[in-house]
Subunit: 224 residues, 2 copies
């Protein structure tokens, strides 16, 4: 019974995700869905990334949170067009569903954007199940979270197109084996590209930016 | 429509939670539900806590994960009776529901335990909505996650009876204002007791252990 309900919710979401995909294709916008646990550094990574991409690439951001506009406020400082979704209106939803994304993209005036980034709600489980019509999914794991997280939350790493291992500036102070963490990611998703970065110091940023620029360029023809 | 389904699921869970409560009352077992994001240090905190409590207090642990028995394996080393729930069998559920807890408690042979700790699935959203018939809820936040998490995930901090701010050994290497984090917890839950600890170094452990021992003693008459 419960499984059937879940299936119907996911099917309805899938239908809406297809509509989103057509909308983004029509507007020639590359859409990146950014997911992670709370506190892995999505917003800081995004702030730094936007600083490097703009104004050559025109970027918009949809930020999902249950409450507060903290992340949107931080991202607006970059000059990007930002809109916030607070899911507390929808019962404190733990993920962003496809229907919320289309509304927000339209509110954002998606027409002239090359890149739309969706900063999903901090949760390593539920957002992985909800297609939002994106072109690519990035999962962010921070080195403070433990090497075994890809094995414990495999769906998230399986559906990701790229992974970021963040906060590597903290490695000297932790018992964290970055090689083991990457190996664990590859166990659940063998060909997953992984970028080891520090959003704080911008160490390791170039390969990540390169990956993003190439992907935006391939869809939109902009930014290289 | 979706809200009605959600309501029914939560109502069914609530009924089961009441059954659990009666079961635990009959067996004179104090039940602690431990919740946090992935990687905030629940397992390490538990390992160290069990080392200090046993054998004066008889402890069992139910560990929830989507996949792997990593945490259960770590906890078994302490000598505690441990059982694992993997929710991938149930569609990768993002929380532990009350029905799973009763089954596991019975499998664990709950009859002679003073304290049953449920290490919930790493998720700062969904587990907060599911009563499992526990006596108290502890939320663990690590200092690497950002001070604003209590404001962004308020339900979790509102339903908690006690909070742990973990990994304070890392404070010298972070731009993290512990005072602000505690203030934010108190904004959503004014009288929430907060213990600042390092599970790694055991700094700050005494007040936390004291809180736990007093609570176990008040229900079971054991351990002080």
């Amino acid at each position: 019974m419960e499984i059937n309900i879940q299936k119907k919710v996911l099917e309805a979401n899938e239908t809406q995700a297809d509509i989103n995909r057509q909308f983004f294709k029509k507007h020639n916008t590359f859409v990146l869905n950014m997911m992670s646990s709370p506190g892995s550094g999505k917003t800081e990574t995004l702030c730094r990334t936007l600083g490097k991409l703009m104004p050559g690439i025109r970027v918009g951001v949809i930020v999902g949170d249950i409450c507060t506009t903290n992340d949107a406020d931080r991202l607006e400082v970059t000059g990007a067009r930002v809109t916030q979704i607070n899911t507390d209106k929808f019962g404190g939803d733990c993920h962003l569903a496809a229907n919320l994304i289309l509304d927000s993209a339209q509110r954002l005036g998606c027409g002239d954007l090359d890149l739309l980034i969706v900063e999903n709600i901090g949760n390593l489980v539920c957002p992985a199940e909800f297609d939002i019509g994106e072109d690519a999914r990035v999962v962010v794991l921070s080195v403070t979270e433990g090497e075994d997280k890809p094995l414990k939350y495999p769906l998230m790493f399986r559906v990701a197109d790229v992974a970021i291992l963040n906060k590597i500036d903290l490695l000297p102070y932790l018992d964290f084996d970055a090689g083991l963490a990457v190996d664990n990611m590859k166990k659940v998703h063998p060909r997953l590209p992984v970028f080891e970065i520090s959003a704080k110091t911008e160490e390791g940023f170039e390969p990540w930016l390169e990956w993003l620029k190439i992907n935006v360029f391939e869809k939109t023809g902009t930014g290289l």
